[in-house]
Symmetry: none
Amino acid sequence: MKKVLVCDDEIKIRETIYDYLCAKGFCVTLAENGEKAVYLASKQTFDLIILDVLMPGIDGFEVCRQIRKTSQVPVLFLTALGEEGDYLHGYSSGADDYIVKPFPLAVLVEKCNSIINRYSGENMQRILSVGEIVLNKDKFLVTVSGEEISLTNKMFNLLSLLIENQNIILSREQILNKVWGWDYDGDERVVDTHIKKLRKALGKEASHIHTVIGRGYVIKE
Amino acid sequence: MKKVLVCDDEIKIRETIYDYLCAKGFCVTLAENGEKAVYLASKQTFDLIILDVLMPGIDGFEVCRQIRKTSQVPVLFLTALGEEGDYLHGYSSGADDYIVKPFPLAVLVEKCNSIINRYSGENMQRILSVGEIVLNKDKFLVTVSGEEISLTNKMFNLLSLLIENQNIILSREQILNKVWGWDYDGDERVVDTHIKKLRKALGKEASHIHTVIGRGYVIKE
DNA sequence: CACACTTTTGATAAACTTAAGATAATCCTA
DNA sequence: TAGGATTATCTTAAGTTTATCAAAAGTGTG
């Protein structure tokens, strides 16, 4: 259950977002002004903070700056049309995003999910897993249903990459860049071959690896 | 190489801008009046359009309005002191900007670059929606009323294009250019077929896609 | 209302992608 | 550097997606 802090001065927006995000399975905390948001963010840890940019008192950007002194939590700004410009003038860290009001709630949810996934997947877990597959990056070890399997280097790196980006479709190009290096200039089809071998090695758990025609590969839970 | 269309009735200004922008690596096209600008904008795609506000015949704002019927290209207005007021009265989309004459050419280039950067590629919204349709460009995922639907590549790109240009009528030619690439030389009717499949895939939400006889297709909220 | 024109539809053919197997090249280590 | 393991390339076959075509349905105009 992901914890989200929502800060907006308008009660109607606050409550709408509250209801909708709760319904979608988030654990939501509300703040009606910037000070409260900064306070709450200092006391608890959230997976995501949603800030209205335009608020009386300290505005969203300032709240973000305050929070950033103690945390790298991703921030989603709610902006009015035309304010994106300011956003782009560098208040943001790479983790942040914005959404222009008015927005459909479904888009808000989609954004929350993708931001949270993006920046929780990246936190350098050393032991990763999907289904019955467990991958230990320190020991260079992979087990399937508890049974150790042996993978070659490339296969191991490929599997790591897929699992680190689970649910995200990776193109052959992206895979080539990360696993083979940017300077690789051979046939793109190497990836296919390695996927094939990986599938074979994973046995029944291979079903987690999906090929998406025209786009690449994904691994899913 | 970024393509810029410059429209100003004064030959001196036109040529000065032409020389300078060319020297700075832009690909510049000139128009000496509003009609020509509208015509050119309808025939080619530009990364940026620079319009003098005050021109004999149709003025810059009107040119912008015309162009906006078929494109979301960012517009930079050249205004005289005092005209900004009009600009601020809402002729602009979020993409636009203005610059007050006289201006140093270096400032013009700065503006051009920042506008083009801001509105190209990476800063585009990655999650789009129309009605109950939500499209996630990162995950290549489309949901209709929360239900995930599966689209082929072409269908996905077509839907993206439509939604990115919502409320703008796209001709088959424009669609072909963006989705199939400028070098596609097959039957124009492919578009129809793909629209058909898209409609089928979208179910009830297909009603957002309108066909405009003799013109093309639009998606509307 | 009829005509000319545009779009939709469904069927079918063509083009493209991927999987798999086999083989060649490369890398690594003893 | 020989030998085994790993990695890359190639070919073919199967499966999807995309393009084309022609008939049917729809639209707008005089």
